[in-house]
Symmetry: C2
Subunit: 388 residues, 2 copies
């Protein structure tokens, strides 16, 4: 009988924890995120304010806050100068100066970009690396080098690295296919994570842009962001969450056939793909032709209007089926603003059930230049802090 005590014959439970059951500590983690979220979006406030906002007791909030103080996620800012009876409140805020994030944008033409950002999405430092026809592992090498360089520029604790890349990215941060770079199943997230020793998140560039606009822009919980560059991609937010799709390919609308009346031949082999109308190279080619015509201005207008119409034709079923509240375009302002945007708006309304007020608003994304960098940063904030 005594021998039993010597063996570690405990029944070897919980080998994996795959069941996704909720432990008390999961609830705690959620509540910690709520505190960070509240401070991030509403700004500095006292523990008592947090208590009222979250519906937790002051005691619990105090405990959560002291936990976050220890981790460096929040800081005390001294007494509030509000004039009120009672003990003066101590303001608490998320540690805006002491935490930073790396964002990377691999979707630009012939340049890889990275930046150090603060928690509000402001860009503090930029680093770049120009690409000249490199492909495959060479680009991966450049990305890793660039990431290291960006990490070196940080002036505060780094929460992690976010990346927006062209191509299809699965939930594990593996770039399944990226034709531009000739990538196939590149485990970008794991490579970066190992190199930099920081939590890393990788998404498609348009998805990152959608995150950015959802957070810093209008913020409808049902929206699509269409990113017009070398190709055409999009990121969808459905019910406040990013749509990923059955094969991680949600948002890939560049090669959807538009309309029922033919169109140009696409490099993918079909005719009438959205990209043949909407991509920046396609638009610039058409505009060049227009400039050579007898009425250059009018011809250019027609080109832009038609592109906008085509986009709206492709988007209308999506907007209608998902009841999206916002359509956001991101790309070169000089191409998108004006005739093109107006055509999108008008055609969209023509093709949807008329309503008053209009169920969907169409606009350009602010700050198209840096939207992927900021979106990549947002992904890290969400993941590491649970901050919206």
């Amino acid at each position: 009988m005594e021998a039993l005590r010597d063996r570690p014959h405990t029944d070897r439970q919980r080998p994996d924890r795959t069941g996704a059951a909720t432990l008390p500590s999961d609830g705690r983690a959620h509540n910690l995120s709520l505190v960070r979220q509240t401070l991030h979006s509403a700004g500095a406030m006292s523990r008592a304010d947090l208590s009222r906002t979250l519906g937790l007791t002051r005691v619990t909030v105090s405990d959560l806050v002291s936990d976050l103080l220890e981790r460096g996620h929040v800081v005390e800012l001294g007494h509030s100068d509000e004039v009120r009876p009672g003990k003066p409140a101590i303001l608490v805020d998320i540690n805006r100066r002491g935490l930073q994030v790396i964002g990377m944008d691999l979707a630009e033409n012939s340049v890889l970009r990275a930046a150090v950002l603060d928690l509000d999405g402001n860009i503090l430092e930029r680093v770049e690396r120009s690409l000249s026809e490199e492909t495959g592992p060479n680009v991966v090498h450049q990305v890793l080098e660039l990431a290291s360089e960006a990490v070196g520029r940080a002036t505060a604790t780094l929460l992690g690295i976010g990346v927006g890349t062209p191509g299809i990215v699965n939930a594990d941060g593996v770039v399944t296919t990226a034709p531009n770079f000739e990538w196939k199943d590149v485990a970008l997230r794991d490579l970066l994570q190992e190199r930099a020793g920081l939590p890393t998140l990788v998404s498609n560039d348009a998805d990152a842009a959608a995150h950015a606009d959802h957070t810093f822009g209008g913020g409808s919980d049902d929206m699509v962001l269409v990113k017009i560059g070398r190709g055409v991609g999009s990121g969808l937010i459905v019910g406040g969450r990013r749509a990923r799709g059955a094969h991680s390919a949600a948002g890939e609308i560049g090669h959807v056939t538009v309309g029922t009346d033919g169109g140009s031949l696409c490099k993918c082999g079909k005719t009438g793909c959205l990209e043949t109308w909407m991509s920046v190279p396609s638009l610039e080619r058409a505009l060049a032709e227009a400039a050579a015509s007898s009425k250059p201005d009018a011809a250019a207008d027609v080109v832009l209007r038609e592109a906008g119409e085509r986009l709206a034709i492709a988007l209308a079923p999506v907007v209608g089926a998902l009841d999206l509240g916002e359509v956001v375009l991101s790309g070169p302002r000089e191409l998108l603003e004006g005739p093109l945007l107006n055509a999108v708006q008008q055609t969209l309304l023509e093709r949807l059930l008329h309503q008053d007020p209009s169920p969907v608003s169409v606009r350009l994304a602010a700050d198209a230049q840096d939207i992927v960098l900021r979106g990549a940063a947002v992904m890290v904030l969400w993941n590491q802090l649970g901050v919206a």
Copy 2:
């Protein structure tokens, strides 16, 4: 000092609980749901099996199960007859015979239908009420009467009532608009809840159908179900959750313009709406014309093929943008099966980026007759038991 004790001067915390913070009891509720879900989908098993599946300890699972036994949600089925060393297991299963649900389908033509269902979605009892041109409050009255009748037919504890209704339904179970019944802001959920004294859930009929197919059918987490009846509606599952939309109108695709080549005039005032091609009345009208032509069979084939093509044209951008894995059609089998379904499949592939294997499968929903009833029941199961 003593006076203080008389007043309830405790600091009046938690007035609302709107903050959505997570309490330990929320975690408990979640784990109870997980047990029910697991038993419902995987069938009877022992506490030890549950422990391994969920990743909770046997002790905790025992506690959860005894709680559910008390509530009548699960039952013990006696010893397992598996031949294994060790103490024989006691099988536990969700209380399939002791719990029932009411499902209602208000979207049929000129008849209101209700049924008593068991937890597996089997229909045990049916009740109906025919409608003859009634509208507005009269229909509401009929619905309430029918619900009471159905409740009376139940032979076990009722978990609640689920309703699939035509029209747009918001998150509070208010039917914002339902043209067929001339309803406007009818608080159907609250009315039923009060009348029957049971938890009630109301959704659009196509959304209910999507729930049914998602649960009992193929079960892709990214799918669309298109319901073809008097009109055309759809229900979307994106990332495993139902898309609701910015104005609770997700899935309303009947009046999206299809293609770029005109079409018939729709009663909504536009031309080329999907409904003018796809609804059952439209199809039957076109088939009648075809029957009168010189080559009736060939003409009918053309009608069905063209309808399928139009649906695919509208769906292609949605399937592409959301990367849906399944497209499911629900409606009269004699119309949808064959040429129409084939045309949908073919056109969809033509208009999407070619891939191997095909990224999207197209099929008919099983049991179109009762799909709304079953979907309505599923909604209750989800809500009351947390069962998938």
